[in-house]
């Protein structure tokens, strides 16, 4: 028991950032703060700031916004009425004149006033370095979203919003969530704003960024609805859920004859079956991938429309998934991980060659390796049967690991995106000199090369650390249009008009 040195006592919680500019949470809340004085000061500062810097450019959302939650009470009323029509009618006729007056005279205007005010106090502006969203009626909140940290831009159009011609725009930066969405904007404004955000993030001069306009899109891939349907029909998981939904409820009925049990199990099953078949079709309908200097454009959706733009160099991991029944047709699904983005699909279904060409575009200079080195035979003692599905290949640019026997899953991580490398080994694995190699990436995805030879893994560990360091050095700048000198030949790059 040594007496602590004096400074140890004061060392309660000491945090420091090696790289101050890369704070994990780029969104700072200036409202909802206990310190009222500081809050007021910050608000005033922010306001003065905004006024002086770009007062003319501070904008409001589309006027349809206040109505975006108007459907909720109506839906609740409609739901209750449908649930028990007789009682609803009785209640309605029994309602006195005063209570009707109360609803119409107080509740509706109050709700309308709240909707209007919350729209009125919400502003957004684009400065040279950030997108600012100022909002909040009682608790002010100002989000400063840094443009150079931009990972992707999403434009979403829910079904109802399509009738009004409005869309939601979200800038994906690590740490942003649905609060930082701009909902709603008119379609034209959203496109212009997206173009401006991307131009500024790309490193165009601030004076011209406003006029750069949309980058030209080159069509790369369109998934035919027919192909999509066939691919869904050939998915084992879809069949399993649909069959379960069709078989389990009748069996339960025969066993229990209880409506409650039937509904409690049947409905979720049917829901899951629907979501995995019809839901996926609706979501993945009309899947279009385009390439532009601003990166990849992904558009899809039958009812809700989604448009995503992923700038170059933002993809952390790519997975090529090959379900068993797709193998004869040579189809694959390509998933991708972008930090801070909720979309994880690049192509729902495509022939392997097309998919690989697309992957080469997403990860420049990467070819999907054909041959992988298998796990050593003694891995069978650790993981019987399934060890045959494991494979690994490390090229100059990517770390590639494969898992899965029936549904093969090939994961590619560019060396430049590797955050840390880990080896793990349990007692049973050590007995057979087997080790797992984990590669962690920034999108909170870990790719694991399973059941490698222990010596090989140890060599891999140090080599991988070196590769990830040099890989990053050669990677493109975050502001992808800033220094064209670094572009490699074969990159999907072109000059932009304007």
């Amino acid at each position: 028991m040594s007496t602590p040195p004096p400074d140890a006592r004061s060392e309660h919680q000491d945090a420091s950032r090696p790289d101050g500019s890369r704070a994990p949470d780029p969104v700072r809340d200036a409202g909802a703060d206990a310190d009222a004085a500081a809050e007021a000061e910050a608000a005033v500062e922010a306001e003065a700031d905004a006024a002086s810097e770009s007062g003319r450019r501070e904008r409001r959302l589309h006027p349809v916004t206040p109505f975006r939650r108007a459907w909720a009470p109506i839906a609740v009323l409609a739901g209750t009425a449908l649930h028990d029509p007789n009682r609803a009618q009785r209640t309605f006729t029994e309602m006195t004149f005063t209570s009707l007056l109360l609803v119409i005279g107080v509740v509706v205007p109050l709700a309308a006033l709240y909707g209007f005010l919350s729209w009125w106090v919400t502003h957004f502006s684009v400065t040279d370095t950030e997108l600012r969203i100022r909002t909040g009626l009682l608790f002010r909140r100002t989000a400063h979203i840094r443009l150079d940290r931009l990972q992707a831009v999403d434009i979403t159009q829910p079904l109802l919003a399509r009738f009004f011609g409005v869309v939601k725009l979200k800038m994906d930066v690590i740490g942003t969530d649905s609060k930082d969405e701009l909902a709603y904007l008119s379609e034209r404004d959203a496109r212009a704003l997206r173009a401006e955000l991307l131009a500024r993030a790309a490193g165009f001069a601030p004076e011209t960024a406003h006029e750069v306009g949309e980058a030209p899109v080159e069509h790369l891939l369109y998934v035919q609805p027919r192909t999509l349907v066939v691919s869904l029909l050939l998915s084992g998981s879809v069949w399993a859920l649909v069959l379960a939904g069709l078989i389990v409820p009748p069996l339960l009925w025969m066993a229990t004859h209880s409506v409650g049990v039937l509904i409690a199990t049947g409905l979720p099953l049917l829901g899951m079956a629907g979501a995995s078949s019809v839901g996926r079709f609706v979501k993945e309908y009309g899947w279009t991938v385009g390439g532009s200097p601003d990166g990849l454009r992904i558009d899809h959706g039958l009812l809700d429309k989604l448009h995503e733009t992923v700038p170059p160099g933002r993809v952390q991991t790519v997975h090529i998934v090959e379900p068993l029944l797709w193998r004869r047709r040579g189809w694959v699904r390509v998933e991708l991980a972008v930090a801070g983005s909720s979309n994880d699909l690049l192509v729902p279904v495509a022939p392997r060659a097309t998919a690989e060409a697309l992957v080469a575009r997403v990860l420049p200079g990467v070819t999907v390796p054909r041959e992988l080195s298998h796990a050593p035979g003694r891995a069978g003692w650790v993981t019987p049967v399934w060890w045959r599905g494991y494979g690994l290949r490390v090229t100059d640019t990517v770390f590639v690991a494969r898992t899965g026997l029936l549904t093969r899953r090939l994961s590619l991580v560019p060396h430049a995106k590797v955050q840390s490398v880990r080896l793990t080994q349990g007692p049973w694995e050590r007995k057979h000199r087997i080790t797992d190699v984990h590669v962690d990436t920034g999108a909170n995805k870990t790719v694991t090369a399973r059941r490698r030879d222990a010596d090989e893994a140890a060599a891999l560990l140090s080599a991988q650390a070196d590769r990830s360091r040099t890989g990053r050095r050669e990677a493109r700048p975050d502001r992808w249009m800033a220094s064209p000198g670094t572009d490699r030949p074969g990159d999907p790059e072109g000059d932009r008009p304007g």
Partner: protein
Amino acid sequence: METGTAEMPDTPDTPDTSGGEPAWIGLPRALLSLRRLLLVVWLTPLTVATGVLLGVFAGPVWAVFAVLPGGLMAWGWLLLGRNWRSWRYAERVDDLLIKRGVLWREETVVPYGRMQLVEVTSGPLARKFGLASVQLHTAAAATDATLPGLVPEEAQRLRDRLTELGEARSAGL
């Protein structure tokens, strides 16, 4: 319990600099003392209580069951020692290496340029023992690079060095 025990080639406090291997540094002995103290503090009353209660209410023969928590304590005493000995870290030119675990081993490499945040914490008990822990965060949440107990001067030196190297080699996402 002796399955898979590979004896460590050197004592943790003497860095091995031979043969191009990085200089491994172990954790201070105070950490082991702290953990053993905690073990004893929790299990001694349990042992005594088991023995006394069973002895009084169920007969003296039953008091033999007090051996169980006692044995657990002895076993834990040895386990903690081995676990403590297994922890080691090394600073290389461009990355930090952390090795740990006896049965389930883990080895982590974090390039300095990927560090987002270096955190030094020490609770009241740890401070009494002159210990502070250092944790590194990268953009990947799975990165588990923690040194559970270091002498405060070493923790500060490491923090400053990591911060400095992180700035020099900054790479981010």
